[in-house]
Symmetry: C2
Subunit: 151 residues, 2 copies
Amino acid sequence: MRNDSRLSRVLHVLMHLGETEKPMTSELIGQMLNTNPSLVRRTMGLLRKAGVVSSAKGHGGGWYLEKPLAELSLAEVYAALGEPKLFAIGASDDTPTCLLEQSANAATQGALDAARERFLDTLANQSVADLIEQSRDQIAAFRNKASTDAE
Amino acid sequence: MRNDSRLSRVLHVLMHLGETEKPMTSELIGQMLNTNPSLVRRTMGLLRKAGVVSSAKGHGGGWYLEKPLAELSLAEVYAALGEPKLFAIGASDDTPTCLLEQSANAATQGALDAARERFLDTLANQSVADLIEQSRDQIAAFRNKASTDAE
DNA sequence: GATAACGTAACTTTATAAGTAACGTGATAT
DNA sequence: ATATCACGTTACTTATAAAGTTACGTTATC
């Protein structure tokens, strides 16, 4: 299948939601993500079920945050999406009878489990607000470089 | 796509190659893996290119090891396969103009990079011979349990 | 020279998120 | 009231890469 890009996409959307006051429509979000409103509704619906965002119908409706981004870790966002399948790798047979095959599968799965733990830890130690902060730093660094270059 | 099961599969095959003297044919390996000889040749061919195994044609031919399994780490095997794509997750746009999107992608990619590092480390710290040793331990534990149950 | 076995190319199948179209439902504005 | 906006949901198609399959050439052994 294609890459599952939902995590980075919704992080992007959440950051924008944190930067505005009015609800954002699926139409507008779709333009930001280069996709269509229906897919936006489907994906954002997962966040709604998890209580991360809410949606309003009708005029002036759209998507808005349910909590401050400083209180929302990336791990919570990943969980809200249903913890999408992380790996493209796995064993072909879950319950092999061959002992050597069991050992091969266990070794592979062990490495994947360790990797997954590291992935979740990394996500847990960052809030979405941190990401906004980082992009502010980016802007500052860029401005700084520009002024240095001008000297 | 389907899960990429090549790593666990070739580990399984390598362990069997370590337990026998004669070359194993693609036909035989295919039976072990529940697949056909052509796919076996395609996958084992990657290991051959990396110098992990060799193959012989004709009567009595087949696949055999080029080095002792104690000197072959799982990381080398993964590398021999061409370091197959590890994750099912990623960003949809590699070079976004939106700074917030860049930050979202960087955070996701950072967590994936950390996870990948952990995956490779785990693989690097095990030899294929270690896996055989582990399956021997499994057998011993099983026998031990059986004798305990019989008391 | 018959047979075994690999080497390789070409094609189909599979799994799953993305992408798309359509229509119902409910909220707001006039 | 009713026109319009926007979400909610269903159903369908598309894209991707490994698995799976078929076929045939090449080479080594008996």
